[in-house]
Amino acid sequence: MAFFGKYLRLVLGACAFLLVIAMSTPSGAQQVNPTASSVKEQQLLQELNRVQGRVSIPDQRSGVLEQPAGRDWREFRNVTLRWIGGIAILGTLAVLVIFYLSRGMVRLESGRSGRSIVRFTAFERFVHWMTATCFIILAISGLNITFGRPLLLPLIGFEAFSEWSQWAKYAHNYLSFPFTIGVVLIFLMWIAGNIPNKVDVDWLKRGGGLVGHDHPPAYRFNAGQKAIYWIVVIGGGAVAATGYELMFPFYLSGIEGMQLAEIVHSVVAVLFVAAMLGHIYIGTIGMEGAFEAMGSGTVDINWAKEHHRLWLEEENARTGANDARPQPAATAAE
């Protein structure tokens, strides 16, 4: 009996041992693969084109682990934008040169009358020139960011270019404020004269007097000037809004929003520069008697008759026709 008891214990022990082995073997084969449910980089990138998580440092924005979209933005900045900007600006310059050579300055056909009329008040001129000065500096410092490295850096060297670009950046950032104020004031003070109407359609059909020697009638602002006005208001508003988004990072958006803002900012800006080249041309060498409107603020009566007949009639009706007193012949203020 004792022998049987020993035998039984042995058998039970062996069974238990086999059971343990039998149980352990399958669990070894089913070893948990910790990556089976783990997050996968490629999957996350395919879903959102970015990988984001949690960080324990105070800067929560650093929770974006990876955002390869910067590569597309790089392509835009280094290739696409340079083509857009180059074609828009050099193309406009080329058109203006060809136009000047073929058409020349648009002359006052009836000559000067010697009498002048106020076209822009001192305040209007101040706002115009404040905005214009800011615009030119903003344009040069902005173009420097896009075209300076390939064009200017090789000429003046790393240190000088960096120094100049640093100051240009400060100018770009700080002059954005008076520029924005200027755009807002321009919007408010000239909105009344810049609502498109039927006269503009006729003006455009007749080529605005730029082609040929026609003088289609216009109120205070013709269709071309209205176009410039809306380019300044809408374009200026767009560059200001996107510019401030870039100037104050993370207040409005994350990096993907800033990439988009830079794209809008730069494309609108180069087109804006191209449009302003046309504006500068027609306001200076493109048309006789035009500059003094923004220079001294007065224009010759004959100039007003030729280019803004309806406006002159309005003014005469308002003030009394003979009230347009003779004034010293206005000379173009340079």
């Binding site: 070893q31 693969n33 910790p34 990556t35 089976a36 449910s37 783990s38 997050v39 996968k40 980089e41 490629q42 996350l44 990138l45 990988v51 984001q52 998580g53 949690r54 960080v55 324990s56 440092i57 800067d59 924005r61 650093s62 929770g63 974006v64 682990l65 990876e66 955002q67 390869p68 979209a69 910067g70 590569r71 933005w73 790089r74 900045r77 280094n78 420097n144 960011i145 896009t146 300076g148 490295r149 850096l153 790393f158 240190e159 270019f161 960096s162 670009s165 640093q166 950046k169 400060y170 950032n173 700080y174 870039l246 100037m247 104050f248 990072p249 990096i255 800033m258 990439q259 830079e262």
Partner: protein, 198 residues
């Protein structure tokens, strides 16, 4: 020459943040700037992973490509460095970087961002190796002393690897073979246009 890279083995990272602390201490990184950080994906859920991330010292680095003043340079070891003397603090590298590496100290208002700061792979900057000027601007230059970046050197689980790309990729592959799994070299495809097959 070696081609220096970082590799974070996400299956080993325990999010202890020692790399973050070591980096800040070694280089006396200013307040508000973290050259390295640990990001936890799917935190608290099954399959969460933590990845320690800094500048990856990309091949054909986007920061260098978009910099308007060309202040970046790549060393013979493949480390992407920049000159704080040339940097104008415009923020373009920070738009282009896939890894959020470039940061700016907050100096003054209205976007006058100050000089960009980022991980140097413990390799300093353009100044003379180990000089006081170099230390003040970029931190310690361990590479010049024959040492690897401190974050990886003192990683408690040896999750973060630094060194020649081929060697650390080999180490990672051996690990993956031995333990039977691996969630891949995070960021390598974006930074180096290559992945480690396992």
């Amino acid at each position: 020459m070696a081609r220096m890279k970082f590799l974070c083995d996400a299956d080993r990272c325990i999010e202890c943040n020692a790399c973050v602390t070591a980096c800040k201490n070694e280089h006396e990184v200013p307040w508000g700037i973290n050259r390295r950080r640990v990001v936890t994906i799917n935190d608290g859920k099954p399959g969460e992973r933590s990845i320690s991330m800094a500048c990856m010292h990309c091949t054909d680095a986007p920061c260098a490509a978009v910099c308007p003043v060309n202040c970046f340079y790549t060393t013979a070891d493949g480390v992407v460095l920049h000159s704080k003397d040339l940097c104008i603090g415009c923020g373009y590298c920070f738009y282009a970087c896939p890894f959020g590496a470039p940061q700016y100290p907050k100096v003054g208002n209205f976007g006058s961002r100050g000089k960009m700061d980022k991980c140097t792979y413990c390799a300093g900057g353009p100044e003379a190796d180990g000089s006081k000027e170099e230390y003040e601007k970029y931190g310690a230059n361990r590479l010049a002393e024959g040492k690897l970046p401190l974050c990886a050197e003192m990683c408690s689980t040896k999750s973060l690897l630094a060194g020649d790309g081929e060697i650390i990729a080999q180490i990672y592959k051996e690990r993956v073979t031995k333990r039977g799994y691996g969630s891949g070299a995070w960021g390598w495809k974006t930074a180096y246009r290559e992945t480690i097959e396992s």
